[in-house]
């Protein structure tokens, strides 16, 4: 983990309530896709944890949804403004488990970390399929980016207004895969856990105090013991998760 001051290069709306912010700064603490950063937003006490969507050299790309005052304030910031950010938080996805043809399954604002993951896997010569689920057409983002990165990209929308109609679990049976990586809402996870045919990794969300393991605010029980989602997580193995119903 590192604390750094980042400069905003761009901060623009890319879908309904969805923003992409590109930052310049010291990204050396970011070691794996699936990690997150924690951002101080002036006027708000707690930092805002946001997963890494892309990271190249000193360029850090994040995608966030405006869900309250903090993210709305963040969305109002302009190029050139500075942000205090803790980087390199969480464990991230384990690329060594992917096999030759991993599948990436994202839901809504859970899609961004999978983009960085897709790029890394493809750079290792893997054949990557990405199933990206959204509620409706105007919430869809990053389809072209995934395609340009070389992922076999499938968009599904719950209302069928764009791509295939239905949920990610409706599209999943059409594909063979060696391993899965997913990020999205827990209802999607629960459906997925019954539909997947291989082991995989899930990236979880929880309200966090610190984001670096100090406050125990985001603990969860797993088959391999208590874990802090911000520290031993957010990525968990399919085999260790205890599903609440």
């Amino acid at each position: 983990m590192k604390q750094g001051i980042f400069t905003i290069i761009s901060n623009k709306r890319i879908a309904r309530n969805i923003y992409e912010i590109v930052l310049e700064g010291d990204t050396s603490a970011i070691t794996a896709p699936g990690q997150f950063v924690n951002i101080t937003v002036e006027g708000f006490f707690l930092r805002r944890p946001i997963s890494v969507c892309d990271c190249e050299g000193s360029k850090l790309t994040l995608i966030y949804k405006t869900v309250g005052g903090g993210t709305e304030k963040l969305s109002s910031l302009k190029a050139g403004e500075k942000l205090d950010i803790l980087t390199g938080l969480g464990n991230g996805y384990d690329l060594s488990k992917s096999g030759d043809s991993p599948i990436l399954i994202g839901g809504g604002v859970g899609v961004p970390p999978l983009f960085y993951l897709a790029k890394k896997l493809i750079s290792q010569g893997k054949s990557v399929t990405a199933i990206l689920g959204f509620n409706t057409e105007d919430e869809v983002f990053y389809e072209d980016e995934f395609k340009r990165a070389g992922a076999n990209t499938v968009i599904v929308t719950a209302d069928g207004s764009y791509g295939k109609k239905g949920f990610v679990t409706d599209a999943l049976p059409d594909y063979d895969y060696s391993f899965f990586y997913t990020c999205g809402p827990e209802p999607m996870f629960r459906a997925l856990s019954k539909a997947v045919k291989t082991p995989g990794q899930y990236s979880f969300e929880e309200r966090m105090g610190c984001g670096f393991g100090a406050c125990m605010g985001c603990s969860c029980k797993t088959l391999t013991g208590n874990k802090r989602i911000c520290k031993e997580g957010p990525v968990m193995e399919s085999g260790e998760i205890i599903w609440k119903d």
Binding site: F45, G217, S219
Partner: protein, 305 residues
């Protein structure tokens, strides 16, 4: 640096800045960020007789200038703390550490304190009496002078190191609780623990945290903390550790003027992991600004008379 030194219950510390229990774990996360030996000491994660997972999540809610937590004393239990955590801590922290103890009965407190008292790394025992008394209708030990005194006596009877009682602010008369602890033999008191607070989610129309209410901390509570430290310091002769929303060197000085011999920094560590390092670094400059030669000289400077 000589001018920052204070004496806490017979143990000299290099400066009065002490990360508060529950915001600093057992120190490792922070030891990766800076040399935690620059601290006066730190109070480690609240330890209980048996391991605890704590409350359901969400455990955290945000507030204006603060936060609410309802972690529920998650900890591995005293035996694991002694067997696993203290040896790991020894590698990164070479000063006496403050052990923080919680319990749900008088015997719990005595049992856990007795074990930790025997650890040579432990310099002080900080006893958190804000927990519900399962044999006392669930009211917190810290809300009743008699219960507070009972815990103090039970712990003092089985320990040799300085015992600091950590008081709950959710009381009508903090001075009465402080006096009861002093009369029962406490070597010091620390306050304030968190204020009981709550937030409701307008979307779900339900409390934000699973436990409904939780402990409110952060800069928002500083004026209440300062007032209670002032009242407690006026009521007792034993050292007082002041805490509650401290996030700057200025706050440290204000709290010491109110009667604190040392201070604890809590929520600030969670939003800025370098908070204590920065505060210690800022102290000499801020002391110069307000013509303060030695910190130990300003303790209680604003008290009556």
């Amino acid at each position: 640096m000589e001018r920052l030194k204070v004496n806490l219950c017979g143990i000299g510390i290099d400066n009065p800045v002490i990360p508060a229990s529950g915001t600093f774990g057992f120190g490792y996360e922070f030891a990766q960020l800076y040399d935690i030996n620059i601290l006066g000491t730190f109070s480690f994660k609240g330890t209980t007789k048996d391991p605890r997972f704590g409350n359901h999540t969400p455990r955290i809610a945000e507030c204006t200038a603060g936060m609410i937590n309802a972690v529920g004393l998650q900890n591995p239990g005293v035996d694991s703390v002694i067997k696993d955590e203290l040896p790991k801590l020894k590698e990164v922290f070479h000063k006496p550490v403050m052990a923080n103890i919680s319990g749900f009965s008088v015997d719990d407190y005595a049992y856990t304190c007795e074990k930790l008292d025997k650890q040579e790394q432990v310099g002080w025992l900080e006893v958190n009496i804000s927990c519900p008394n399962v044999h006392g209708g669930g009211m917190s030990f810290g809300t009743d002078p008699a219960s507070a005194a009972e815990v103090t006596r039970a712990v003092k009877a089985v320990t040799s190191k300085p015992v600091i009682i950590k008081l709950s602010p959710n009381v009508t008369d903090i001075a009465a609780i402080a006096k009861a602890c002093e009369e029962a033999g406490a070597d010091g008191i620390s306050l304030i623990n968190t204020l009981l607070g709550m937030r409701i989610d307008l979307k779900t129309k339900r409390p934000v945290i699973a436990n409904k209410m939780g402990g409110f901390s952060g800069p928002a509570i500083f004026p209440v903390a300062l007032r209670m430290v002032y009242q407690a310091a006026n009521a007792v002769k034993i050292p007082v550790i002041g805490m509650g929303g401290i996030s700057s060197a200025e706050d440290v000085i204000e709290m010491m003027l109110a009667g604190a011999t040392a201070v604890q920094v809590g929520a600030a560590n969670l939003v800025d992991p370098f908070a204590c390092k920065k505060i210690i670094g800022d102290l000499p400059r801020v002391m110069d600004k307000y013509s303060i030669k030695n910190l130990k000289d300003i303790i209680g400077g604003a008290l009556n008379g």
